[in-house]
């Protein structure tokens, strides 16, 4: 019963959070731009959650999650644009198609011991990008009709994907309405998975493959299950992305994007779901901040230093510094510092005891402290 209660509680809290955010949107306190970043953050959390399942919990490094995202995004995009599917089935189809890809890649590679998965997924991520680039040409060649309208748009991209709302002005609030519940549900379900016997088996594989196998764990079967679920979630992330952004092009799913997901997982803690959520939201906002507001922030800081420490130089002109070109460097620097001071990531393999905080009355909290 305790399990059920805490799961319900998470949903209640998530619903309250959702309601609060909706209220902020309606009251126009949360502007469209912040909402857009929140949507991106949600998708990033989903992608990192997916990667954490296979790499953090199962211990099998995967470096091609942008490829999975591309499969999901393009599947949903093509179904919406060319087949005029409804949104929900198109999203599910995006996830399922990607799960199929995961299964097909996993079957030959997960039988091998060692880091083969990292190499193969890395290769897959690149191949899928090139394949989408040339997909229409191949289609025309296969059907022998040079004038055929393509599916993916090739290098020019797939444009005109119908959004979450028919009115483009309210696409972001509508997208948020979809993305938030799906991400929350995915987080809760993955957490449930981890806290079941199957989840413990995955962690055992990460800890010691030989030992896990000797205790009766079907190594290949569990790895393949984990990888397929991971692919499904990544595909779902891509599927949610397609109608949100409205336009897909192959370079958007390059290796750097895969690395970004790896960074979220490592930073949040390999094997910590709450860590992934925190790092996913945090890094999305940090990246956005460095991309857009770094200039103002940099100038503000420098001016502050000048006014307080070197007031005599003001007459010669205000100092200014542009941090935008340095944003990637700053991003890297922050990561290096975090890795030095928290080598296991923000959370390590621990979780924030959210349900315990919520289920324990405040007057008893002291008794629970270790």
């Amino acid at each position: 019963m305790k399990n059920l209660r805490s799961t319900l509680l998470i949903f209640v809290v998530a619903a309250l959070g959702f309601g609060a955010l909706q209220a902020l949107i309606v009251a126009e306190i949360l502007d469209d731009y912040t909402l857009q970043i929140l949507c991106v953050a949600g998708i990033n959390v989903l992608m990192a959650l997916s990667l954490n399942l296979i790499s953090g919990f199962t211990g099998q490094l995967a470096l091609g999650h942008a490829g999975f995202m591309a499969v999901g995004a393009y599947t949903t995009g093509v179904l919406l644009v060319h087949a005029h599917w409804l949104l929900f089935p198109a999203l599910v189809a995006g996830g399922l198609m990607t799960a199929l890809f995961g299964l097909l890649i996993g079957i030959p590679t997960l039988r091998l011991r060692g880091d083969y998965l990292a190499i193969v997924t890395l290769g897959f991520g690149e191949i899928i990008r090139v394949a989408i680039n040339n997909f229409d040409e191949i289609l025309r060649w296969a059907f022998n009709s040079p004038d055929m309208v393509g599916w993916t748009g090739g290098p020019t991209g797939l444009s005109g994907i119908p959004g979450y709302a028919t009115n483009i002005m309210v696409n972001n609030p509508a997208a948020f309405l979809w993305i938030y519940p799906i991400v929350v549900l995915s987080v809760v379900l993955v957490m449930n998975l981890i806290r079941s016997s199957h989840g413990r088996a995955l962690v055992a594989i990460r800890e010691d493959e030989i030992s896990a196998q000797a205790m009766g764990i079907n190594l290949f079967g569990m790895k393949l299950t984990s990888f397929t679920i991971s692919a499904f979630l990544a595909g779902l992330g891509g599927a949610l992305y397609a109608p949100f952004i409205g336009y897909l092009s192959p370079p958007g799913f390059d290796f750097l994007r895969s690395v970004f997901f790896v960074i979220i997982v490592v930073l949040g803690g390999m094997g910590s779901i709450t860590g992934t959520v925190i790092a996913g939201i945090g890094l999305t906002f940090l990246q956005e901040f460095l991309r857009t507001s770094a200039k103002d922030a940099g100038n503000g800081l420098v001016v502050l230093i000048q006014q307080n420490l070197f007031p005599s130089t003001i007459s010669a002109g205000a100092w200014s510094v542009d941090l935008v070109p340095l944003s990637q460097v700053l991003f890297g620097l922050i990561l290096i510092l975090l890795m030095i001071f928290r080598p296991g990531g923000l959370m390590g393999t621990r979780e924030l005891p959210l349900t315990r905080w919520l289920t324990t009355p405040w007057w008893r909290k002291k008794e629970l402290l270790p």
Binding site: M1, N3, L4, T7, L189, N192, L193, S196, S197, H198, G199, R200, A201, V203, A204, E207, D208, I210, S211, A212, Q213, A214, M215, G216, I217, N218, L219, T225, G271, T349
Partner: protein, 263 residues
């Protein structure tokens, strides 16, 4: 007593190296047999073949099933062999370090959990009942070994002796009929070794096990084994009762060299 396990002409060849050649063994139900020999004799390789870590390059391994039929298990994957009733511990402790004590034990039960993955993910009734049962069963098992008060402790934080104990408990949790112990007394002091001997005798009776163990500690081997097999350079050089093995010149030569026999 009926035969539980029989190996015939078992051999393992790594390229040009013959780690084990022509290893034949017959284990009767309820026996406690020791496998000894100098370092590099091939003892652990035998274990690895019996548990499926290596597929033997020659020979057969036959296990009596619960219904009494004989079944070939040579070359099966390790988890299949475990599910047929052979459990093992490792020479170098291989616990799941970041997991708690009870989680470690629960891994051996995974193949017997009565719910499916989807039922666990959606927290359906079979999951809740099964998890509660599993937990109380494991706590009972831990209580037998007096470590139930450490169920929530991280495995790597246990003292060395208890880590060894936990490995045995974890192996027992899969409900084996044959238990393979790979140097269970390694790194233990004489007092701990004495306790371990008691423990091995106890679990053998309590869980109706057949035990095959590798050990270098001669006090332990001579003290509890009913029968011994001596390996050297991958070949069985002697077998018999502990008292016979102790005075066997071939064994003394293998362990101590030519001169020791004449001394």
């Amino acid at each position: 007593m009926s035969t539980l396990l029989r190996t015939e002409h078992l051999g393992m060849q790594f390229g040009g190296l013959r780690a084990v050649g022509d290893f034949s063994l017959e284990l009767a139900e309820g026996e406690l047999v020791g496998l000894i020999g100098p370092n590099g004799a091939g003892k652990t390789t035998v274990f690895n073949m019996l548990t499926g870590v290596y597929a033997p390059t020659s020979g057969t391994i036959t296990l009596a099933t619960k219904t009494g039929n004989a079944e070939q298990i040579g070359g099966l994957l390790p988890h299949r062999i475990t599910r047929k009733g052979i459990a093992r511990t490792f020479q170098n402790i291989r616990l799941f370090k970041s997991m708690t004590v009870w989680e470690n034990v629960s891994i051996s039960r995974h193949f017997q959990v009565p719910y499916r993955l989807a039922q666990g993910v959606f927290r359906l009734p079979p999951f809740r009942k099964a998890e509660a049962d599993l937990r109380s069963e494991i706590l009972e098992l831990l209580a037998i070994f007096k470590i139930d008060n450490k169920a929530e402790m991280q495995a790597s934080n246990l003292p060395y002796g208890e880590q060894r104990k936990l490995e045995i408990v974890r192996a027992l949790a899969s409900k084996p009929r044959l238990l393979l112990l790979d140097e269970p007394a390694a790194g233990m002091n004489p007092q701990e070794t004495l306790e371990l001997m008691e423990l091995i005798r106890f679990i053998k009776e309590r869980f109706e096990l057949t035990v095959l163990l590798i050990e270098h500690d001669m006090n332990l081997v001579m003290g509890i084994c009913e029968r011994l097999l001596v390996l050297d350079y991958g070949l069985t050089i002697a077998q018999g009762l502990p008292a016979e093995i102790r005075n066997n010149p071939v064994v003394i030569k293998a362990y101590l060299g030519e001169d020791a026999v004449h001394a």
